[in-house]
Every structure is written in C-alpha cells, then in structure tokens.
Amino acid sequence: MSLLELTDKLIQWVSEMARTQGYSPEWAGFFTAIAIMLAVGGFVLGFISVVAMLLIWMERKVSGHMQSRIGPNRVGPFGLFQSIADAVKLLLKEDIAPKMVDKPVWWLAPIIIVVPAVLSFLCFPFHKGWIPLDLNLGLLFIMAIGSVSVIAIFMAGYGSNNKYSLIGGMRTVAQIISYEVPAILAIVPVVMLAGSLSFGQIIEAQSFRWNLFSLWGIVSFIIYVISGTAEINRTPFDIPEAESELVAGYHTEYSGMKFALFFVAEYTNMVIVSMIASAVFLGGYYLPFGLGASPVWMLLKVFAMIFLLMWFRWTFPRLRVDQMMIFGWKVLLPISFANIAWVGIWMALKL
C-alpha cells in the first residue's frame, strides 16, 4: 500500500537525518519513535475525520432512502460534500456561551468527550500487523477509556445549568453505566475462548471460524449489539436526547464547533462499537473458513454494522426509561451470565 510505503520512507528519512546530524544512536531511535508516533497519530486523526464526515453523509442518505426521500444531493456528486459544507459552517459560527453556565466545566466537556473516542482508535485492527497499538489488554483499554466519556457527559449536563441538560446528562450516564455491564459480559466468552484481551489474538483465533458461528456467539453478538446501541444513545435507546421531552439532552446549550465536537464523538463512538463487534464476533479482517484476509473486509464489516445501527433507528420506536432499565438489568444481564456459564461449562468439559 502506498500509504504504508510513504510512512516507511518518512521513518527512514528521520532516522537517517538524526544519524547524520551527529546524535547518539539512542537519541536517533528516540526521534524515530516520535516520528512513528506522529505518523500514526496523523493517520488515525485523518481516518477519524474522513470517516466521521462520511458517516454523517451516510446517515442522512440512509435516513432519506428509508423515508422515500433522496437525502443530500446538491453539494458534490451524490451530495458527498454536504458534510464538508456543514463542517465549514459550524467552524465559522459564532461561539456563544450562555450567561449562567459553569464556565470551566462547560468549556472542558466537549474537549474531554472527544479524547476517549480518539484514543480508542489506537486499537483499530485494520489488518494483520496493522494495528496502531496492539495492546495486550486492548479490549480492556477500550472499555476503560470509553467510561471516561461518562464524566464528560456529566460535565456537559451539569455545566449547562439547565434542567433539561442535567436530566438528559443523568439519564445518559445511568443508561451508559447500565448497559456497559452486559456489553462487557457479552465479550467475556470470547475472551475466555481466545485466552487473550488483545485484538490481534482474538481475531487470529477466528481466522477459520468466526465467533458468530456458534450458539453462544449469536447470543453474545445480539447482546453486544443491543447494549452497544444503548451505550452510544442511538434509537431505540435515545431517551437522553429525546427531543420531544428534553430538547437535545446534555448538548442543548452548545453550538458551533463545540456542538461539532459532540457530533464527531457520537459518530466516532458508533464506529468503535461497530469495530468491536466486527473484530470480536465477525472475524475482523478475515473472511470465514480461511477464504482470505484484507483490510477491505474489516472496513466493509464496520460499515455493515453501522448500516445496521442506522437501520434500527428507522425500525424501532423509542423505549420508555423504565422499560429500558428493566430490559438491561433483568433481561440482558441474566442472559449474558447464563451464556458465560454455558461457555465455561463447555470449556471445562472439553479440557
């Protein structure tokens, strides 16, 4: 791939420069590493912004077609540049801060919410060996980092000094921490069987047979997709942003670039949920039964998952808050425990 070659060349150039300028080998290695980090970071950031814009466009297109409309079609071919136009508009908009907001908190919230979303991309498994940072505890890392966004939502809700924002923020947090439990528990069987929390190893374990191709895999997958949908507050779990009840929830008071950051974080989280589902259950960059591996498959799976989430939005009506809590704690949680127990028994019998 040309992009890879380019990175390679850049790194070579940096290390050569460092050596010719008379630095010791240690410092040369240090500079090289910094260059690699910058390159990878740049790539990831670029990827995120492209994907986020693409997704906004895709959401509007999908919604449009599902409602027998066309969707954006004026700016660029098929309205592809609509998102860019929107982004430019948001950037240029006047930044208004309401009078009674808790200034430092209100200002920090949109910045903090983007950080975990971006950090999660450190573990995006594009292809075998093409993982920016294949941590041994990759899954745990993503889960841990994801929980930081809760604080940001709280900050946004509290800092806005607006009762709808506060209620929206609290509902969101309650929903996220409730559905985090089944989401993690749904992944536990996979971790048990792969014996690792690293994305690379989990995907390698599925090189022939995806985790989806088993009874427990299907159950886990369904639980994960449902709780993932709830964690990113999408319909039918969009109670926190229920426009008819709470205006727009915790980001009611934001506009301009701050609002754009919330938006980016939301779509990025969507990509991450889809990425985890594809990597953990759908074999990542592998086709089933050893038919081949390519980053293209990975991206296709992620987009298929995203399409599924968008499809949900126009299929299911919104739940009531108590229904949602009961569903999470009394339905999904017991099922995922039973699933874990079943996989454990199966493993114990097999060993």
């Binding site: 240690e26 410092w27 240090f30 808790d102 430092p104 908190v105 941590l135 041994n136 505890l137 745990l140 890392f141 889960m143 841990a144 980092i145 929980s147 930081v148 809760v150 604080i151 709280f154 900050m155 509290y158 506060l166 609290m170 947090v173 921490i177 985090e180 929390l197």
Partner: protein, 178 residues
Amino acid sequence: MTELFNTALTPWEWTQLISFYGIAALMIVAALMVVTLRNIFHSALGLAAVALGAAAIYLMLDAEFLAFVQILVYVGAVVTLIAFMVMLTQRASHGKLVRQSNDQKTISFIVVLSLFALLIWKIPTTVWNTTVSTGNLADAKTLGTAFLKEYIMPFEVISIVLLVALIGAIVLARREPK
C-alpha cells in the same frame, strides 16, 4: 538527588522523569482541588483527575492491567456515583454561602502536618529493600492466576463483600413503601 543529574540520561529516561513529575504535580493540584473547592461537583472532577493520574502512574510502574481497571472503576464507577450523589443532594450543598469546612480546621492541619513532616523526613532516609527487575514482569495472566490460586480465599471474600454492599446499598436507598 544530585547524582541523578550527573549521569548522562537517555531520552527515555528524560521522558520518564518529565512525565512523572508532571503527573505528580497535576495530581497534587487536583487533590488540593478535591479538599478545598467550594463547589462539590468541581471537587468530584478533581477526584477524577487524581484517579486518571494514578492510572498514569500505574502505567509507568508497568501495571497495565491495574491502570485500566483503575480507570474503569474510579472514573467509570466511583466518580460517576459521587457525581450522582452530588446531583441528588444538590439542594443541601449548592449554596456558596454554606461553610464547607468545620471547626476543627486548625487542629486537623497541625496533626496532619506533623504526620507529614515525620514521614517526609523518614522516607528518603530509609533504605528500601528493592530488587532489580529481571525476567518477566507481572502481567494480567500472572495476576489472574494468583487470584484463582494463592488468593482464592480473599478473592471469594471480596466478591461476597461486593454482593453484600450491593444489596445493602439497594436496601438503604430504597424508599419505604407507604
């Protein structure tokens, strides 16, 4: 302290030094925020910052697993719960006019300071029985094995404690049906 700067340091060591003292300074500031700020929600945010800083320290100490668990538990659960607590009891704690510290401020300060002085005097002069790390450091697998072998009993006990705490919290917080 002086020999630290006499030796030529590698860039990695510089990185370590700078990040440690940076994180330490940040944590101390955040901790002071926790105990001094009038707005209790800001204090909670300070606690989140301390927890994140501690996670960073764990990462420096090669305790990856613990660092992620720290974030998951402290930021994801403890601080969230505290924030909920703040929201639910806001009417009692929101006013800036309400005094935030009690009558024993001075005596507490003296006692804490005496303890601090004693320890800050003793810690650098104590010879610690440290070992040079060779071989594999403890990773998540080591910890997991230890939990299920040597520490199985405390592990079970802590599970029961968590369960009991859960039930107790529900029972306490539940509104009595009239």
